[in-house]
Amino acid sequence: MHILEVQNLCKEFGSAKVLKGIDFNQEEGQVVSIIGSSGSGKTTLLRCITGLETADSGKITVGGHVTFDAAEKKKPSKAERRENQLCTGLVFQSFNLFPQYTVRKNVTLAKELLVREECKAKKRSRQETKAALAEIDESAEKIIASVGLSDKLENYPCELSGGQQQRVAIARALILSPKILCFDEPTSALDPEITGEVLAVIRKLAGEGRTMLIVTHEMGFAREVSNEVIFMHDGVIAERGTPVQVFDDPQNARLREFLSATLRA
């Protein structure tokens, strides 16, 4: 069974057709990279999958659970919307950490709110709630250690470098254990010399078999880490295949142009 199924996804902004019928599937444990020039619709596709944009038509299924269906007229309830939301995680280009919270709190906040609500709904005792929160704290520490920032637990985002902030953002997404972790150009806002530390974390996650969908401009990285590469052009998937197929034997004329332009740069 596919972990992600995207069927006939279309999205317009005013008169601009950004997505013109996107279809693709992703297998569990696979890393899929989406490449393409700006304006090709790759970020919009990612935003539709993660629920930040509502597509005009089409259907998205994550792990057998329909998270979006344009044909469904009934609005999802609050709980359903949240459940859909938590199927996917997203790491932004510009990190978007919460500046007023420490690294630890940035990572724990969402999960804490979730668990508190759950405990309240199930009328758990105060001790049980406390234990659950302590558990979150413990798992946060583990995850933060796994992105190499144990020494920054009590620091604020403004005290971290861009690369460190992005690693916190990854930890923040991981703690909610999404079925698919999405990245929207995770290194585009970073200085070239520190993209490496973020890419290393993503590489490690790929090694652990995490399902990831990555919009990126780092061609070398996409080639190395992906099981499959999707090339988007003008709102459609123009070519897809293994990295070897896409990078070494591109069939699509646009893709050839795009690759020679990025290689020249």
Binding site: L52, F92, N96, L97, F98, P99, A110, Y156, C158, L176
Partner: protein, 214 residues
């Protein structure tokens, strides 16, 4: 007429200013927040109604609004205002809520969209995003303009004398009527000291929120 006597008289007057000040603050902050949400409403009629309200309140003198609140209920609706102080408090709260609401709106709209989106993709509800993510950032950004507005409020309270509330300057004017001018200037000291304390408080709050940037 001794200095102590004048001071006591003026202090009695200043009590009215302080009363107006604190009650206005207490009323105008929540009311202002409601106006903010109205002016940011996606439902157009509400938005324009609220925008018109803000235009009228900011576009006419507070002095006129004091008269309006005092007289209009009696003249138009046949229910005269029971007390002048009530009229003053209503006028001040409405007036300051309109100004506060614009500061709040500016603060809320200055928060990057990415903060809301980050909250959303982490599965937070809109309410949680507002209270847990956005609010403190808004507060940090609006402390300086709110400080300005609140200090203006302290001085504006003396406008209440136009509807015969015996506040500080009116108390001093009674002396001026009898040929003693200096108590009038002495009132400045009351405003200065109180606003000095407020400035220290705002400075303290700013420092408190200085632990993070962004």
């Amino acid at each position: 007429m001794t200095f102590t006597q004048v001071t006591t008289d003026l202090l009695n007057g200043f009590y009215e200013n302080l009363l107006i000040f604190f009650v206005t603050l207490l009323g105008a902050i929540p009311f202002g927040l409601i106006i903010t949400f109205g002016s940011m409403s996606r439902f157009k009629p509400v938005k324009w109604l609220v925008k018109t309200f803000i235009w009228i309140i900011r576009g006419t003198p507070l002095m006129l609004q004091l008269f309006a609140v005092l007289y209009v209920p009696g003249l138009v609706f046949g229910i005269p205002m029971q007390s002048r102080m009530t009229a003053a408090l209503i006028a001040f709260i409405i007036n300051y809520a309109a100004y506060f609401s614009e500061i709040f709106r500016g603060g809320i709209e200055s928060i990057p969209k990415g903060q809301y989106e980050a909250g959303q993709v982490l599965g937070m509800t809109k309410t949680q995003v507002f209270f847990k993510v956005v609010l403190l950032q808004v507060i940090k950004r609006i402390v300086p303009p709110m400080g300005n507005e609140i200090i203006t409020l302290v001085k504006d309270t003396s406008l209440a004398r136009v509807i015969a509330i015996a506040e500080l300057i009116m108390a001093a004017e009674r002396y001026a009527g009898r040929g003693y001018i200096w108590p009038l200037f002495y009132t400045g000291a009351f405003f200065l000291i109180f606003n000095g304390l407020l400035s220290l408080l705002f400075h303290f709050i700013e420092k408190k929120l200085d632990y993070y940037k962004g």
